[in-house]
């Protein structure tokens, strides 16, 4: 069944269009920055973008920062929201279950396909932007960000005064960032997957998950909601930037992983509980 789900996802033009668009946006940004040599001043604009001018090998990180707030969650929510609700609305859910594909198996297969999609999307962005970065900005070893100048909201004021990073170092740190972002997106996916078992409307499930993210984003930015902000899904989304500091700041990274793991477990559990016990009347 897992093979079938992967095949289904791969045969959908939509999956590839979404990934292509995700890769394209950072390239467009890179071209503008390369042509004008005007990067946002440190502390503004997409994180890390200003550091890119000095070295293209940091561009994958900048590219991830560009797609992370909106485009990546949208594409993940659409795929995850479609998982069960899409089958329900196309009428295939009943035929799959009658084949029989066990409900748990179906959910697991959908989850594996979702994880594969998230990984492919994030890695595709990282790889294409690495190539773009090297081509447009060269591959001088970049400097790490100093760890002194963080702000908790995730928008960082960078400084290029840190120690230089070797290419292997950059690669490792980027891999860490990719893993962190993939896990964060899995959190989004879990929420959308849960909603997908609640409704027969794929669009409704995707929008519901996005609404939850936007609400979380609003609350994170709200000082008076500080007491709950450590538990919000988007709170540590940008903490992967800490991978590019010298030394790496593990505190928020660890917390980010932990909170996403909790979201993934809770929402997948809820999705399973609901799906395994519900009447399929679509």
């Amino acid at each position: 069944m897992i093979r079938v789900e992967l095949l289904k996802l791969a045969r959908r033009p939509r999956s590839w269009v979404a990934i292509a668009l995700l890769c394209l946006l950072p390239i467009v940004v890179a071209i503008f920055v390369a042509v004008t040599h005007v990067a946002p001043p440190p502390g503004q604009g997409p994180a890390l973008l200003s550091a890119v001018l000095s070295s293209g090998s940091l561009f994958p990180a900048a590219a991830l920062a560009i797609v992370l707030p909106v485009f990546l969650p949208i594409s993940v929510a659409v795929v995850a929201g479609d998982a069960i609700a899409g089958e329900a609305s196309s009428g295939m859910l009943r035929y799959l279950l009658a084949r029989p594909v066990g409900r748990t198996r179906l959910l697991v297969a959908k989850l594996v396909a979702l994880i594969a999609y998230v990984l492919v999307a994030v890695v595709a962005v990282a790889v294409t932007s690495y190539v773009t970065g090297i081509l447009l900005f060269g591959d001088k070893p970049p400097a790490a960000l100093s760890s002194g100048s963080l702000s908790t909201s995730g928008v960082i004021a960078n400084s290029l005064s840190g120690t230089g990073m070797t290419p292997a170092d950059v690669l490792l740190r980027t891999a860490g960032a990719v893993a962190f972002i993939a896990v964060s997106m899995l959190g989004v996916g879990a929420i959308a997957l849960f909603l997908s078992t609640l409704t027969d409307s794929a669009l409704g499930a995707a929008l519901g998950a996005l609404a939850a993210l936007i609400a979380s984003g609003v609350l994170v930015a709200l000082n008076s909601a500080a007491s709950i902000s450590p538990y919000l899904p988007t709170r540590y989304w940008l903490s992967w930037i800490d991978f590019f500091r010298q030394p790496i700041l593990w505190r928020d990274i660890d917390r980010g992983f932990a909170i996403q793991a909790v979201y993934v477990v809770v929402f997948l559990g809820a999705a399973w509980a609901n799906f395994a016990s519900k009447d399929v009347t679509s």
């Binding site: 009943r94 009658a98 084949r99």
Partner: protein, 335 residues
């Protein structure tokens, strides 16, 4: 094959299926009839473990459902309401996916292409091209749905309105396909509200009305003589007077006489010098039978008066009054 006892399903306020005791034996061609919204699809979904019953028990092929439904589903082919497929793929690709989903089939992966080709051949789509299912006609989709149900040579076919959207030719083709499969040992459970379809195909019927099973019997037994004689005569008035209390119904030149002996009634009329244009035992058509035991469909809203006007079936009686007396005995023959 299928045995349900006290099967009940409640959707919130709606009692969709109410204490249904189905009995389908091996080799039956079972027709499951009922007006719109009477609960046929809900029963089918419960048989397949898609909807969980709120009460009662189901056994399919000797296995309790929904507890061990995954043990029987591989031996069941199903068409549930409309057929479905992934619109952007071809029919063949759809069947390949469906075949690949679910437990490992006997023939393994290598047999997949052959199984799919066979199933397509059976439903008359053998030579179909690679166009996406989105571009299929309604009839082609219906055939594709049937092909999916036949993929793994099931022992039991559960078909919910399989001939929806087919032309008369297609309906006949499907009917002969089903008869052929049945002869080869496949039990067929078919839900429909197309009475003629059921009449021509099925050996046994069950009728549901507003969630209750109101009739279940062999079709041959049900359609036997009713024990009454149908007479057509230009002298109907005099004949009615002659036969007296035995006449249960009269309209114009038609009489219905409560007497099992056609020859005797005929002799009596002819002896009295009456002209008889037509005489014979009354046999009920499936349509009469079903209409007499079911009310107006439970999906009709907005005319509450019609339902409270009398017993279920009162609307049908207005249309054809002679069913009044048969109401009771038809109801009695459902166990």
């Amino acid at each position: 094959m299928i045995v349900t006892t006290g099967l009940t399903k409640r959707f919130g306020q709606v009692l969709a299926v109410d204490q249904v005791d189905l009995q389908v034996s091996e080799g039956d061609r079972y027709g499951f009839l009922g007006p719109n919204g009477s609960g046929k699809t809900t029963v089918v979904r419960m048989l397949l473990g898609l909807v969980y019953p709120t009460g009662g028990a189901i056994e399919v092929l000797g296995v309790p459902v929904p507890r061990q439904v995954s043990a029987v589903l591989p031996r069941i082919g199903a068409l549930i309401e409309a057929p479905s497929a992934y619109g952007h793929l071809s029919g063949r690709a759809n069947l390949m996916l469906i075949d690949a989903a679910g437990p490992r089939p006997r023939g393994g992966r290598s047999g997949r292409r052959r199984r799919v080709a066979e199933a397509l051949e059976r439903v008359g789509l053998g030579g179909v091209d690679d166009r996406a299912v989105r571009k299929y006609s309604l009839g082609m989709r219906q055939r594709l749905g049937l092909a999916a149900a036949l993929l793994r040579s099931p022992r039991l076919l559960v078909l919910d309105e399989p001939t929806n959207g087919l032309d008369p030719q297609g309906i006949r083709e499907i009917r002969s396909l089903l008869v052929e499969l049945n002869a080869a040992g496949t039990t067929i459970f078919l839900s429909s509200h197309q009475l003629s379809e059921v009449e021509q195909l099925c050996t046994r019927i069950g009728v549901v009305d507003r969630g209750r099973l109101v009739l279940q019997d062999d079709l041959a037994a049900l359609r036997g003589p009713t024990g009454r004689v149908l007479v057509r005569s230009p002298d109907a008035g005099q004949a009615a007077a002659l036969l007296g209390g035995r006449v249960v119904y009269r309209d114009d030149d038609r009489l219905i006489v409560a007497d099992a002996d056609v020859a005797q009634v005929n002799a009596q009329l002819v002896d009295a010098g009456m002209r008889v244009t037509e005489i014979g035992p009354e046999r009920r058509s499936l349509e009469d039978l079903v209409l007499s035991v079911t009310g107006s469909g439970s999906d009709r809203f907005g005319r509450p008066a019609a339902r409270s006007a009398g017993a279920p079936g009162s609307q049908a009686l207005v249309a054809d009054g002679h069913r009044a007396a048969s109401d009771a005995d038809a109801g009695g023959s459902s166990q």
